[in-house]
């Protein structure tokens, strides 16, 4: 595995792009493209949790799927343990998938209602030809225990479980093949508040016990701060800021990050009364027709002429060891 600043890089994403074509007319001519992910570059270190935040439509889920090759990227490279996933053959990719799994947002939609919990969790084992029938069953029971469910539930169906329990089943399925990397796409946003903490604690424990690496995609900024080691903020298909959790939350350099953070509700009436909100004007522009230059300039209170002309470089304003990347022409203003 390649090294960077003394840390092992497990996943390295380089200028990843995913454009969905817009087709029109009888002959389905391509008239444009929705640039869902438009050139993102970052590394995920072994054993860390990288939080990916942004508003709906910013491309964060698409980025997660493109990294796992569940959607074919339009351009760019994704290195997983130093192999470029975008260049692998179908068979090689399938073998590589053992080591990288996904947890989905809606456990109701991602579990087959006609299969028992046992079949759902053992399916990845069958696909990858792991063990025989008997050992698979043992493994499923073990996994159920690991995620805090009774192994006796093995022959039940998804509808017999609550939302939080179903998410645990989804987690067990993701763990079945002993992956080293997991993309968790909004794993808690469909759950009740009191259940969210249970699932987050479980993910945390599993990471410590099994040495997992997470890409945690979410829009809940407080939860992302809690679970992540580093945080990337996405806006309209690009990463605008990336740094350690405390750097991004305590010293945000990008005006968009600042606005996002100021909008988080705080469960404390006294603090709420004192704080000032940055209310962004307007809404996120369409990714089919993003603004020129800096994509945020149409809503940014600091925007100047250069912002509408030049796409800002994604540059490091932190140290070599602890980088704090930001894509803003005026970032120095906030240092």
């Amino acid at each position: 595995m390649s090294q960077k600043n003394g840390k092992e890089v497990l996943v390295s994403v380089n200028d990843l792009k995913l454009h969905f074509p817009i087709m029109r007319g009888v002959i389905r001519r391509q008239v444009g493209a929705v640039k869902a992910v438009d050139g993102v570059t970052f590394d995920i270190y072994k054993g860390e949790t990288l939080g990916l935040v942004g508003e709906s439509g910013c491309g964060k889920s698409t980025a997660g799927r493109a990294i796992l090759q569940l959607l074919k990227p339009t351009a760019g490279e994704v290195y997983f343990e130093d192999r470029d996933l975008t260049k692998l053959s179908k068979g090689d990719l399938r073998r590589a998938r053992r080591h990288m799994q996904m947890i989905f947002q809606d456990p109701q939609a991602s579990l087959n209602p006609r299969l028992t919990v046992g079949s759902i969790i053992s399916e990845p084992l069958e696909i990858h030809n792991v063990g025989d029938r008997e050992s698979r069953k043992e493994r499923v029971q073990e996994l159920l225990r690991v995620v805090g469910l009774n192994p006796y539930f093995i022959s039940r169906y998804p509808h017999e479980f609550s939302g939080g329990q179903r998410q645990r089943i989804g987690i067990a399925r993701a763990l079945a093949t002993n992956p080293s990397f997991i993309v968790a796409d909004e794993p808690i946003s469909a759950l009740d508040v009191s259940i969210q903490a249970q699932v987050v604690n479980l993910l945390d424990d599993l990471k410590a016990e099994l040495g997992l690496t997470y890409l945690f995609i979410a829009h809940d900024l407080s939860m992302v701060r809690y679970i992540s080691d580093r945080v990337a903020v996405m806006y309209l298909g690009k990463i605008v800021e990336l740094g350690s959790r405390d750097d991004v939350y305590d010293r945000p350099y990008h005006p968009y990050t600042q606005a996002l953070l100021s909008a988080i509700p705080i469960p404390d009436p006294d603090k709420e009364a004192r704080r000032e909100r940055i209310i962004l004007k307007g809404e996120v522009p369409s990714p089919a027709n993003p603004p020129t230059g800096c994509r945020f300039h149409t809503r940014c209170q600091y925007a100047t002429e250069i912002c509408s002309q030049q796409d800002p470089e994604f540059r490091n304003l932190g140290t070599a060891v602890q980088s704090h990347m930001v894509a803003c022409h005026h970032a120095e203003k906030f240092m």
């Binding site: 508003e55 709906s56 609550s162 939080g164 329990q165 009740d192 508040v193 009191s194 259940i195 969210q196 903490a197 249970q198 987050v200 604690n201 945390d204 829009h219 900024l221 407080s222 939860m223 701060r225 809690y226 939350y249 606005a259 996002l260 953070l261 100021s262 909008a263 988080i264 509700p265 705080i266 469960p267 404390d268 009436p269 006294d270 603090k271 709420e272 009364a273 909100r277 209310i279 962004l280 809404e283």
Partner: protein
């Protein structure tokens, strides 16, 4: 302050094939003119059913409002005929819902939907109604309002649709606005816009608001009063300051502790509420929170604690409220 809404001992049940669902089990609260309060609870806590009962929106069968009084300016809403209630809804008590698409008609233009209510409730002529509709759209910040009356709901973005709902709800100058999770489907920056808008309009128009939400964080800064619901009961009720600082019910405390603090310096493990929400098919005889409660004592398994006043403007339904309060934010600091 005059009380505008006085809900007393409201009971709503659903008679289903599987048995009787005890959705709302005798809740009482009051709302003053121009006041904003929040009803907080998780899915299945009865927070939405509680206000739907007030508005006469419970489908019957299977639902039935079985007991209680809902006094609005002295009139009991539960005794009104469907026709009388219909006149009240939308004009004096208005509601906005979580998902604007379920309450906007996709095949009618926005202008038609907005003017319909105005012509019905306020007897406006179509020209007057149109003028008022444009005025409302401008008020909620929709650009080119006059041109957009002929557009259909799908031509608006999610945040704009929520603004449309607000414009429709406020067009008849209601004295009470009930907002059922109006921002959960929205992103934080849009959520901040909508909350700011509603608060600004509240000040301008002087209406009372009931926010229904599952998120204790969202309402902290914007209401005066809070009712926390669990399993169809109000388990804690009082001023926002008391509920956040002198929390006296283990469920409220659990909810507050399970939200990570975005401004927290060090990382402590999240405390979660173990177990699952209760089965509402069971008749509540003991404290419904007891199976998940870390403060529970024997009495909790035998008797359901009533909501009792523990301080001026603060009530709790917990036998152990004093112990819980010592663990609250101020209690721990003391």
């Amino acid at each position: 302050m005059t009380t505008i809404l006085d809900v007393r001992n409201l009971v709503t049940r659903f008679y289903t094939e599987d048995g009787v669902v005890h959705a709302v089990n005798g809740i009482s609260y009051t709302l003053d003119e121009g006041e904003s309060m929040a009803i907080v609870g998780e899915s299945g806590s009865g927070k939405s059913v509680g206000v739907m009962s007030i508005m006469g929106l419970i489908p019957s069968p299977p639902g039935k409002v079985e007991a209680g009084e809902v006094l609005y300016n002295g009139r009991d809403l539960l005794k009104l005929s469907p026709e009388e209630l219909r006149q009240l809804r939308g004009s004096e008590i208005a509601m906005i819902f979580q998902d604007p698409m379920t309450s906007l008609n996709p095949v009618l233009t926005v202008g038609l939907q907005m003017t319909e209510a105005l012509e019905l409730h306020l007897n406006m002529s179509s020209a007057q109604a149109k003028e008022r509709a444009v005025e409302m759209l401008q008020l909620v910040g929709i650009p080119n309002a006059a041109d957009r009356l002929d557009d259909y709901p799908h031509q608006f973005s999610g945040g704009q649709r929520q603004r449309l709902m607000i414009a429709m709800a406020l067009s008849c100058n209601p004295s009470i606005l009930i907002a059922d999770e109006p921002t959960t489907a929205l992103d934080v920056t849009i959520q901040a816009q909508i909350i700011e808008l509603v608060q600004k309009l509240q000040q301008e128009l002087g209406m009372a608001i009931i926010w229904i939400t599952h998120d204790l964080g969202v309402v902290a800064g914007m209401v005066q009063k809070l009712a926390v619901m669990y399993a169809g009961f109000i388990v804690e009720y009082g001023s926002v300051h008391d509920l956040y600082n002198l929390t006296s019910h283990p469920y409220t405390l659990g909810l507050l502790n399970s939200i990570p603090k975005v401004d927290a310096r060090e990382r402590t493990r999240l405390s979660s509420i173990e177990g699952l929400p209760p089965d509402l098919l069971m008749e509540p005889k003991r404290c419904p929170f007891a199976p998940r409660c870390t403060f529970a004592v024997e009495r909790c398994w035998e008797e359901n604690p009533p909501l009792i006043s523990i301080a001026p403007a603060h009530s709790s339904a917990c036998w152990q409220w004093e112990v819980v309060r010592s663990q609250s934010k101020v209690g721990v600091a003391a």
